[in-house]
Amino acid sequence: MIKAVNLYKSFEGNPVLQDVSVVFDDNKTNLIIGASGSGKTVLLKSLVGLHDVDAGEIWFDDQLYTALSFEQKKHLRQQIGMLFQGGALFDFATVEENVMFPMDMFTNWSLEEKRERVNSCLQRVRLENVNRLYPSSLSGGMQKRVGIARAIALNPRYLFCDEPNSGLDPLTSIVIDNLIHEITHDLMITTIINTHDMNSVMEIGEKVVFIHEGMKYWEGSKEEILHTDNEALNRFVFASNMAKRLLNTGH
């Protein structure tokens, strides 16, 4: 479980997050949705500590993350996996070295063991025979998948994904969504995903949090989202024709 309590974050006096309180459940794919610029990335980065918040508390299970020291945070972070909006693969390293990186840093496994683990992670994201390639020679979707493989390399307890399928075709998007969903349930972890893709919401939105202008406007499940009377959320949801059609067929 990850819990945020009354989070505030501003940049040079410009408020971005305002009084955000939300709980993300274990063993679920928690989605943060909202328009571009609404503060999703800032919220995600604040949760993992890449931004220092101005006020508020962040809990990882029973640990108050915002009160931990630098060293304690480092320790907790070894249980966090994160997929970045742009992939953020290390361009100085091959695919194999990228996925192996957390193992090199934090385990004393033998090379054999590490290779085995790398291959099983890559298999999980359905990538084969790319071990020796550099990230620059992979397609965007493949980079995202390597990013996921690296994020799950050490069996994290918490998984964060910033727009895992932006810039991907609908088919690959669904593959990646399902992959994250499957990993979440297999490893029984807390997963938080940023997205503005209604397809993802309908596919894997077990818990959905709607952010609008830096505030939490609504939360619920994908079943509830089509029948809410929250105006801002309706504008967001029904901007896509697909959602309208879904609602109509549901009637």
Binding site: K45, V48, G49, L50, K73, K74, H75, L76, R77, Q78, I80, M82, F84, Q85, G86, A88, L89, F90, D91, F101, P102, D104, M105, F106, F160
Partner: protein, 246 residues
């Protein structure tokens, strides 16, 4: 003025994160070897070329400047040696390196910053500043004083080539000059200067890269700012060290 103080404060805060025991020493030594190659060995050709030409030019200029018959010709060798050792092989070579390795460090780390690779390191629980910057600082500070010694010797050879191939000065006079009143401490002085300058180059250019933001244009801008600040600091510390050590 306040901006400068903020920058300096930020720099020392970063160094506090950098100068820590590495998370994983095996990984550190592997990186160290790679960095010796990147910040040191790869600069051997440029340092060699610059040094041989400058050694030759100093020899010719000194000869033509000694017009008085009372000054023995051997002083040319002596002057070449002293100029190379005291100033050229450390300060000038450091300024050349500031341009070469400073810009590559700033843009390498800056690119990692804007493509979120640094965030990715942090999220894994790696001290990114320590992981990325410490190997470069240690490699340059320990290894590059050897470049200074190399530059010194090659510079003297440059002067020697002039003595051998032209009639500006005889080889015998030149060699006599090289051996005149040699103070071994000057070598120590040169090495200390070079080590300090290389600490400055790597840490300051890494600092500018680490705090790059925005797009690729900003990375280029940080690299430029890095080189300018490195060069200024080298000149200031040259003055300070010379005052303290000599």
């Amino acid at each position: 003025m306040r901006k400068i103080f903020t920058l300096v404060g930020q720099y020392f805060l970063l160094m506090e994160k950098v100068l820590k025991k590495p998370d994983n020493s095996t990984v550190f030594w592997k990186q160290f070897v790679q960095e010796v190659e990147k910040v040191g060995l790869s600069s051997v050709p440029i340092v060699a070329i610059v040094s041989i030409f400058i050694g030759a030019v100093i020899t010719i200029q000194t000869t033509y400047n000694i017009t008085s018959p009372f000054i023995p010709k051997a002083y040319v060798g002596f002057m070449t040696r002293e100029t190379m050792l005291l100033e050229f092989s450390s300060t000038m070579i450091a300024l050349v390196l500031a341009g070469k390795i400073g810009s590559s460090i700033a843009s390498e780390i800056g690119t990692m910053r804007i493509t979120e690779q640094i965030d990715a390191l942090e999220i894994m629980g790696v001290n990114s500043a320590n992981y990325l910057i410490l190997p470069k600082i240690v490699a340059a500070t320990l290894f590059n004083p050897l470049l200074m010694l190399m530059s010194f010797i090659i510079g003297l050879c440059g002067g020697g080539l002039i003595a051998l191939t032209t009639d500006v000065i005889t080889p015998a006079d030149y060699i006599e000059g090289l051996r005149m009143e040699f103070k071994p401490f000057y070598i120590v002085y040169g090495v200390i200067k070079m080590a300090t300058f290389n600490f400055i180059i790597t840490s300051i250019s890494a600092f500018y890269g680490y705090y790059a933001s925005g797009g690729s244009r900003n990375v280029g801008q940080s690299a430029t700012n890095g080189i300018v600040s490195c060069s200024l600091c080298i000149l200031i510390f040259n003055l300070v060290l010379t005052h303290v050590l000599l």
